[in-house]
């Protein structure tokens, strides 16, 4: 058992090294016996599963994951939906149990505003600086190359 754990640890390290997801363990993502009879409910379960993290994997959602724990979560999602939960209620039920960590789509509240605002703020800053630069370049006057630079450029281009 200890040996197996070590093997798995090694596999994880290798996977990390080479940019890949965890090794398949035994099952294979969504299993035929998990699928709900009602296609509408099943589709909702699939959509929800894609946003939930497999807790023992690296950034993998439970819909794709092969881990046993992911299967348990998939079954839990389906259980909640069958019990009549809305999507939000089902998600709340799971985050109450497993914490915010389980959400692959981080919430917008609290300190996370930094994460969500980073792109737009950076874009506005970038565009602002870019515009200032462009204005300056469009108003500048062409500086002639110095003699030394002329010679160097000619030497390079003539080769």
């Amino acid at each position: 058992m200890k040996d197996l754990l070590r093997q798995m640890g090694r596999a994880a390290v290798l996977a990390i090294l080479l940019g890949m997801t965890l090794a398949p363990q035994s099952a294979l993502a969504v299993q035929p016996d998990e699928i709900l009879d009602d296609p509408v409910l099943e589709q909702r379960a699939r959509d929800l599963s894609k946003g939930l993290r497999c807790l023992v994997c690296r950034n993998e959602n439970i819909d794709d994951s092969n881990a046993e724990l992911a299967r348990d979560l998939r079954l839990l999602v389906r259980e909640r939906l069958v019990a009549g939960d809305t999507d939000d209620e089902a998600i709340d039920f799971i985050t109450d149990r497993y914490g915010e960590y389980v959400l692959l789509n981080p919430r917008t509240g609290g300190s996370n505003w930094v994460l969500w605002a980073a792109g737009p703020v950076m874009l506005i800053t970038g565009l602002g600086i870019g515009l200032i630069y462009l204005r300056r370049r469009s108003r500048a006057t062409e500086t002639a190359l110095s003699q030394d630079e002329e010679a160097r450029l000619k030497e390079i281009l003539d080769r």
Partner: protein, 669 residues
């Protein structure tokens, strides 16, 4: 009998000898790197030609020593020398020869040695091809390159030595992770490293130019081929990894926004920005300090990538505690090079003044937009990647940032980039009239909108992804063709054959981006899926295809046992292909893998996977029809090909091969 034993002992002795020499060569390489760093730098500062000239032989020597060391390690893997710990942990005597060789870099230590080998190769090629460079600049570039080598050789020898021996050698090894025993993944790391490490050349050029305080058109021309080469390799490396994930992981995902994938994607984005801004430096002597900054940051992301993948800190904060030494060392290397280069940049940036004058609407201004969008996109990926760590450390909030975030936060920038691209590619330098360019692009725009409408009308469901993706793809591909057509102007058709290769490169690479976008949109928007229990002889129908599981057999492979399904694929009674999905078990590593059965097609892939046997008989069976899947990698190949065309353009060949012309021109002294 005694002779046989003696011979065997002698063989073992020789084998040990080669390994020890490899280890020794690595230590020697460290000292050579030290010389390569210090002597030419001092020489360039004091204008001592003799000291500067040390750089070239030192770069060559470093390459040869590291190459020998790498060959010795490969030799140990190939001959299954189980006295080496690394070989025991990552190889097995029964493993196919290909994977014995690729096993060399299928682990942390060996892959780090490959990293250093490629670094030394780049250093040496700067010595080989750098004949046209001014001696002081060349000496400084090689010195910086030597400094990077020094840091990583020290990292390897002190924290991750691949040549450690076992006190009690076992009879056989523990085998390479079966997932890595695959051609796609075997060659994914070397390409990726060629890309990561190739960016060190841009970095070295940037630092050398900052020390000299001069960046001009020639500098732009020298730095661009190296960046281009690095970007081509990164493109191929990323595409190989994504392709591997697609066929190997069992459900056909191709990109997961995983921290480790992001680690390769950020340098790719920055390198793409650098490629474009270096053109402005070369042609217009503008955007100099920005280009230098990009060159520094691009390699910075390579270093951060090495840190992310090898310390495990992003994947799990706790992994850091299990091996703090490596993480801290890599963080120190990153801090040293980034801190040093950025300080130098802050001190010297003001001497890098722009020369060119251009209007608000010009090729220059559109390239600035390209750079802003690419840099912001890379920044979003960076923030998303490190946010779980930052959030836990600063706000004590344990959370995940996954695919939904990146899809939402990253995609808009890329859509904007794609929308502006064909316009920017056709803008004239200095001053442009928007009307003239837009008129030429009118057919492309009309066609793109027609595709949007057509696809929207044809598709079932109301997803915007498919129609918008294909519209953007059409705009990019037809825009690229328009670009090519406009180059021809009013001259006869044969003019097309005489265009510069960089023109072809640009057009092919831009069209490639469109093809990749089409593939991603098609696959994500219109994939069909079926999951069920299948008995032998049973059939199912999916998206018009009939899929029959004819039989399931047990097959013995070289180092695995396989459950292989025979699956007949047909449509309207016509047989198309027989697919053989496998589920393999590797007894030594005690790990299962899945090998999907895929029928590749131009417009779609049919993808079947066999799973576990079920209690009530039959097998778990998944089948997918994946529209346009191959376009994703086809587009990547086009992008790399376009890069290669640009790289072979006359002006870079001239810049690179100038030494030969020189030698011919000047008689022997």
């Amino acid at each position: 009998m005694r002779e046989v034993v003696g011979a065997a002992r002698g063989q073992a002795y020789n084998r040990g000898m080669v390994t020890e020499l490899g280890h020794f060569a690595l230590i020697l390489a460290l000292f050579v790197a030290l010389i390569q760093t210090i002597v030419p730098l001092v020489g360039a500062h004091k204008r001592w030609p003799g000291w500067m000239a040390v750089a070239e032989p030192a770069a060559n020597a470093q390459f040869l020593l590291v190459a020998f060391s790498f060959a010795a390690l490969t030799h140990a893997f190939v001959t299954s020398d189980f006295t080496l710990r690394l070989v025991v942990e990552n190889s097995h005597s029964l493993k196919p020869m290909l994977y014995k060789v690729t096993g060399v870099w299928g682990n942390h230590e060996g892959s780090m040695l490959l990293w250093i080998l490629i670094l030394a190769l780049f250093g040496a090629s700067a010595a080989w091809f750098g004949g046209a460079l001014p001696p002081a600049l060349r000496a400084r570039v090689l010195a910086v390159q030597g400094g990077i080598g020094l840091a990583f050789l020290a990292f390897l020898l002190f924290t991750s030595n691949p040549f450690l021996r076992m006190a009690m050698p076992p009879l056989d090894g523990r085998d390479l992770n079966p997932l890595l025993q695959d051609p796609g993944l075997a060659f994914h790391p070397p390409f990726l490293y060629l890309g990561y490490v190739g960016l060190s050349m841009a970095f070295s050029f940037a630092v050398a130019a900052l020390i000299e305080g001069r960046v001009d058109a020639a500098w732009g021309r020298w730095v661009r081929p190296w960046t281009l080469a690095a970007w081509i390799f990164l493109t191929i490396g990323i595409a190989l990894g994504s392709w591997w994930a697609y066929y190997e992981l069992g459900w056909g995902g191709f990109w997961f926004w995983d921290p480790v994938e992001n680690a390769s994607f950020m340098p790719w984005l920055i390198a793409a920005a650098l490629l474009h801004s270096a053109i402005v430096v070369e042609k217009r002597e503008s955007l100099k300090s920005w280009t230098i900054l990009l060159a520094i940051v691009a390699f910075g992301f390579s270093l951060i990538g090495a840190f992310i993948t090898r310390s495990g800190i992003i994947t799990s904060v706790h992994a850091f505690a299990t091996d703090p030494e490596r993480g801290v060392f890599l963080l120190a290397i990153t801090a040293l090079f980034m801190g040093g280069a950025l300080t130098l940049f802050a001190a010297r940036a003001e001497v890098l003044s722009s020369k060119g004058v251009f209007a608000m609407l010009s090729r220059e201004s559109l390239l600035v937009l390209n750079n802003i969008l690419l840099a912001v996109a890379a920044f979003v990926v960076f923030v998303g990647t490190i946010w779980p760590l930052v959030s836990e450390l600063l706000f004590d909030r344990k959370l995940s940032v996954g695919e939904p975030f990146f899809n939402l936060a990253f995609t808009p920038f890329f859509v904007a980039l794609g929308a502006a691209l064909p316009i920017g590619a056709m803008m004239p330098w200095k001053r442009a009239k928007a009307g003239r360019v837009l008129r030429k692009l009118l057919p492309a725009a009309v066609l793109a909108i027609a595709v949007l409408a057509l696809v929207y009308a044809l598709q079932t469901g109301r997803s915007a992804l498919g129609p918008v993706g294909l519209m953007l793809a059409t705009w990019l591909v037809v825009g690229a063709l328009t670009d090519l057509w406009a180059r021809k102007g009013n001259s006869p058709l044969s003019r097309l054959l005489r265009l510069q290769r960089s023109d072809y490169g640009r057009v092919i690479a831009h069209a490639g981006l469109g093809v990749t976008i089409a593939g991603i949109a098609g696959l994500l928007a219109w994939q069909s899926e079926d999951i069920r229990v299948m008995q032998e002889g049973e059939s199912l129908t999916l998206a018009g295809y009939d899929i029959t599981l004819q039989s399931v057999e047990r097959v013995q492979g070289p180092n695995y046992i396989s459950t292989t399904g025979q699956v007949l694929l047909s449509r309207n009674g016509q047989n198309i292909a027989t697919l053989t999905p496998e589920k393999r078990f590797y007894p030594v590593a005690r790990m299962p893998t899945t090998e999907a059965g895929i029928d590749n097609g131009f417009l779609r892939d049919v993808y079947v996977v066999i799973g576990d046997p079920q209690d009530g008989g039959g097998w778990a069976f998944r089948s997918y029809v994946k529209p346009l899947a191959n376009w994703i990698w086809g587009g990547a190949i086009l992008m790399a090909l376009g890069g290669a065309f640009s790289l072979s353009d006359r002006r870079y060949r001239v810049a690179a091969g100038a030494r030969k012309t020189n030698v011919q021109g000047v008689p022997a002294e």
